[in-house]
């Protein structure tokens, strides 16, 4: 994930369609990933992605580079996503809290997740485990996996303190490590052999 160059931003601000297209193309997968993390619905995520880009580009003329453009954009996506969830009547998301402890999958080999691995459905099992994370942890991890995004940037995007971000990421990884233990073991064996 590269921050758009200042030249690209300047041209986009001037209305250069090629620069706008480049900006959207570069950032689309990250914006969509954040939207999916919040909404869990491909159609709604696509709609939110489109909405976020339109709003960002319409306000781009007033962008003066005080913050990174990507941080600005991702924060916009998060806010729009939370607005949508609120309109949908969903439980309000508190990004500064860990959220409710959801059903942590057991490490019992008889449970569904390991069985899924045995059936070679690792990816689905991972998605299921991720879906069970509290929203704040899932969003923090999504931003964390957007490659170059630093913890400080994640804190700015989520509007929470830095330590809260670290806590979300650490706890989220711990949960997932427990839930996906068998898959990790298999990878370890496969990597070692």
């Amino acid at each position: 994930m590269a921050e758009p160059s200042s030249e690209t931003i300047r041209r986009a601000q001037a209305g250069d369609q090629a620069a706008i297209a480049a900006l959207v193309t570069e950032q689309q997968r990250y914006v969509y990933s954040i939207a999916m993390s919040l909404l869990h619905d491909p159609d709604e995520a696509a709609d939110l992605t489109q909405d976020a880009f339109i709003r960002m580009l319409r306000a781009l003329g007033s962008y003066r580079g005080e913050t990174k453009l990507t941080t600005w954009l991702y924060r916009l996506v998060v806010n729009l996503g939370i607005d949508r969830l609120r309109r949908r009547g969903a439980q309000p998301i508190r990004l500064d809290e860990d959220g409710t402890d959801l059903d942590l999958p057991s490490t019992d080999p008889a449970d569904d997740a390991p069985a899924a691995f045995e059936r070679d459905e690792e990816a689905q099992a991972v998605r299921d485990a991720v879906a069970r994370l509290p929203e704040a942890q899932r969003l923090a991890l999504t931003l964390h996996y957007l490659e170059d995004l630093r913890y400080e940037d994640i804190a700015e995007v989520m509007g929470v303190p830095l330590n809260t971000v670290k806590s979300h990421i650490r706890r989220g990884k711990e949960r997932l490590a427990v839930a996906l233990g068998p898959a990790l073991d298999r990878r370890s064996v496969a990597g070692g052999s």
């Binding site: 001037a14 689309q28 491909p42 489109q50 339109i54």
Partner: protein, 160 residues
């Protein structure tokens, strides 16, 4: 960066490999194209000149529905019937007022109109010619309406 978190990251590279593809999701190519097209269409006139309106809710790009209304053949037949009836009425009135029978009058008017439009013009002055046309065959005033309907039908058929 938090040290303990770094340590944990170092211990869990496999976890990262497993999770990254799940968290970073690529939208389907069709969705990517449609998002890009919608964004370009929506922002084209406004990027260079931001205003207070940019802070408001951005309207979703609306696909302008192409009119699918067409004019049915029945409508054309009805229009033809109206034109014919109008010409017949005018001709009949002409006959009542002392001229020959209405069919002959109508035929004569049609011939005059054709002659004026396609043959040797009686006048080179456009206004005089138009006045003469209207005087001889007033039903020709309906022709623009017929042309308008035909043109709309053609445009509608072309858009589909």
């Amino acid at each position: 960066m938090d040290v303990s978190l770094d340590d944990q990251d170092a211990r869990n590279p496999r976890l990262d490999d497993l999770l990254r593809p799940v968290f970073v999701v690529e939208p389907p190519p069709g969705i990517q194209r449609s998002i890009l097209a919608a964004v370009l269409m929506a922002v084209e006139p406004t990027v260079a000149a931001p205003s207070a309106a940019t802070q408001r809710s951005a309207p979703r790009p609306i696909a302008v529905p192409i009119s699918s209304r067409t004019i049915s053949p029945v409508a054309y037949l009805l229009l033809g019937a109206v034109l014919l009836a109008y010409a017949g009425l005018v001709s009949w009135l002409h006959g009542v007022m002392g001229g020959p029978d209405w069919v002959s009058t109508m035929i004569r008017q049609l011939l005059v109109a054709v002659d004026l439009l396609a043959g040797q013009s009686l006048s080179t002055e456009p206004l005089a010619l138009a006045g003469l046309l209207i005087q001889v065959a007033p039903w020709l005033l309906l022709l623009p309406l017929a042309w308008l309907l035909w043109d709309r039908d053609r445009a509608s058929a072309g858009a589909r």
